[in-house]
């Protein structure tokens, strides 16, 4: 019998991902919404100092297995941070808790293994079908991302969002930051959406990250590869500054190592370009009031410096 398959949620792309796997022939359980229970489960069974996405994905996987999933996939391709070890550690934690399932880490950087893993999830999968469905998936993802960028297109205030990929994309974790800003009448660019993320990954695999115009400037500020999306964030930060954005919000989970490490560099770039930057650190203890106050104040400051009051 074919194993039921599930994966951790990935923001608004979750349903598209579930459809993709379904079309490829997997027996998909759409990962359950992140609720308080998910956060509690994840926090309870994770090492306490580990980054927030680890806890949330663990919580979701536990709930998916409770709903009958026997095979769980988790991405580990961008892993120059501890995302690399998510699958191994989470599998151990869940097996220690007595859950019966199999873990299947997905790594796009290794095409042969990637295809083998996909075949395990979707029995009888052909290469042509995979390519066809993936292209269809990309189109839908792009449509979704374009829609977000069409809101408040001509607004006087423009804010760019950089940070850690999971909290940037999962609205329940980032307390709908983009929506909050858009309702204040602001144009928001969240570069770390899935479509750009995937094209960045491709660029990186081809070793092209640092040859762009902004990439060269970023390299002067920070020459090494550090992991996560830290280098890409610096490049994007510089592009926002050069394109005269009014401000940038950096979102990161508490205890996320690469994004925390580059904070002084981010601050320095903000000073050099005279662009206000707000760093928000998020974890399970973040209060909605605190969050809203910080965003409102930031927007007020941007408006005041534009002379609007």
């Amino acid at each position: 019998m074919q194993e039921k398959f599930s994966f951790p949620r990935y923001g608004k792309y979750t349903e598209l991902l579930a459809d993709l796997f379904r079309n490829l022939g997997a027996d998909v359980i759409t990962p359950p919404q992140i609720t308080k229970r998910t956060m509690e489960l994840g926090t309870k069974y994770s090492p306490s100092d580990i980054c927030y996405p680890f806890k949330i994905t663990l919580g979701t996987m536990i709930e998916a297995v409770e709903q009958g999933a026997g095979l769980i996939a988790i991405a580990n391709s961008d892993g120059w941070c501890i995302l690399r070890c998510y699958s191994v550690v989470q599998e151990q934690i869940m097996k220690d808790l007595g859950y019966k399932f199999e873990m299947c880490p997905i790594n796009i950087r290794k095409p042969i293994k990637f295809f083998r893993d996909m075949k395990r999830i979707c029995p009888g999968l052909s290469t042509i079908k995979l390519i066809k469905e993936v292209i269809r998936f990309f189109k839908k993802v792009r449509e979704l991302d374009e829609a977000e960028k069409n809101i408040n297109k001509n607004a006087p205030i423009k804010i760019g969002i950089i940070g850690e990929v999971y909290v940037c994309n999962e609205n329940i974790l980032n307390m709908d930051l983009v929506g909050r800003l858009q309702r204040m009448g602001i144009f928001v660019d969240r570069w770390l959406c899935l479509s750009t993320n995937l094209s960045m990954l491709l660029q990186d695999m081809l070793g092209m990250t640092n040859i762009t115009k902004f990439g060269k400037i970023a390299k002067k500020y920070f020459p090494q590869r550090i992991g996560g999306h830290a280098n890409e964030n610096l490049i994007k930060l510089i592009s926002y500054a050069e394109k005269k954005y009014d401000g940038v919000i950096m979102l990161k989970p508490f205890a996320c190592n690469p994004e925390t490490a580059i904070e002084p560099i981010v601050e320095k770039i903000g000073r050099d370009y005279n662009m206000p930057i707000l760093c928000l650190s998020i974890d399970e203890a973040t209060l909605e009031t605190h969050f809203q106050t910080r965003i409102e104040s930031f927007v007020d400051i941007l408006k005041m410096s534009k002379g609007e009051r």
């Binding site: 609720t35 928000l280 909605e288 104040s297 007020d300 005041m304």
Partner: protein, 314 residues
């Protein structure tokens, strides 16, 4: 003449101020919440109402700020709800038009705002930790069995430098006990705490950014001379404390609302002070968000809800 009421409801105190069209302060009140913010809000309102009837003014508009601004707004009615950063900035510019840096330390909040030509360019608030705020100092004062009001005076008598680990409230307690056991004097320990608070602030809140002069220090903690002197030593410059430092937030809210053209105020009147106000808590189970919703009931009539993420309970 029009009169504007500003309300600042924070974690440990409620502040109210009334200003006229020319931004003159007509009435003000500062009240500790002592764990019952709604009671304190009502008491403060009663006090303002007494001052109002003495001086014969009526309120034309209300501006509310502070962490409890939503709950306060649903109770007494507000024409403007503004965050603390903007309110403090506006107030600081009122008291010192040339201000370059604002330090504000309250009960559980500490913030820094940098300005250039009267326009805020950068700000930061404490995150995830309240070490280095008023609550930190008052819990240590408690521990040392002295009143928080005497803190500054004790610190000024210090003769020896004592380093206290002030990164975490609990650990700094153990460090204090350790230092006391080593024979350090109370004065020196208190001064060490003030310096620890300042170190924390410089490191976590202002992130070691250069603070340009003039520096204005407001908020409840600004009353503490020990902390003011510790800031002056650390920043190597004079730190100005306006005499209204405790109420700057609500003055800012009042100024902000005075700039709006409010025709008809949403203020529900001073009678609110005598209403029987109850709150009910429940978890809304209608979607996976599972919001903690607080329902406010004023004289048996629902006045509003707070805590819901969607439009369902407003």
């Amino acid at each position: 003449m029009k009169f504007f009421l500003g309300v600042d409801i924070g974690s440990v105190s409620v502040k109210m101020a009334v200003i006229d069209e020319n931004k003159n302060l007509c009435a003000s009140v500062y009240m500790d919440t002592s764990g019952a913010p709604i009671k304190a809000l009502q008491n403060a309102l009663r006090e303002i109402s007494e001052q109002a009837s003495r001086q014969g003014f009526v309120i034309n508009a209300v501006g509310i700020t502070g962490s409890g601004r939503k709950i306060a707004a649903s109770l007494i009615g507000a024409d403007l709800i503004k965050n603390e950063v903007t309110a403090q900035t506006v107030a600081a510019l009122h008291y010192a038009p040339d201000v370059s840096s604002i330090i504000e330390i309250g009960g559980q909040d500490s913030k820094v705002i940098f300005l250039k030509n009267g326009i805020p360019i950068w700000y930061n608030l404490n995150t995830l930790c309240a070490a280095g705020t008023g609550s930190f100092l008052s819990s240590q004062a408690n521990r040392l069995k002295i009143s928080i009001d005497e803190f500054g005076e004790y610190a000024s008598r210090s003769t020896m430098k004592v380093n206290i680990a002030a990164k975490c409230t609990v650990f700094s307690e153990s460090d204090m006990i350790h230092k006391a056991a080593m024979g350090c004097k109370k004065e020196d320990i208190i001064n060490g705490l003030c310096e620890g608070l300042v170190r924390n602030f410089i490191n976590n809140v202002s992130k070691n950014r250069l603070m340009l002069s003039p520096v204005i220090f407001v908020g409840g903690v600004a009353a503490n001379r020990g902390v003011v002197h510790a800031f002056e030593r650390e920043l190597k410059q004079k730190v100005r404390v306006p005499k209204e430092h405790k109420i700057t937030g609500c003055v800012g809210a009042a100024i902000l609302v005075s700039r709006e053209n409010i025709e008809k105020t949403k203020f529900k009147g001073f009678a609110i002070a005598d209403h029987n106000i109850k709150t009910e808590f429940f978890i809304c189970g209608d979607c996976p968000n599972q919001c903690d919703v607080t329902k406010i009931i004023s004289n048996d009539i629902p006045a509003g809800h707070i805590g819901s993420r969607c439009e369902k309970y407003k």
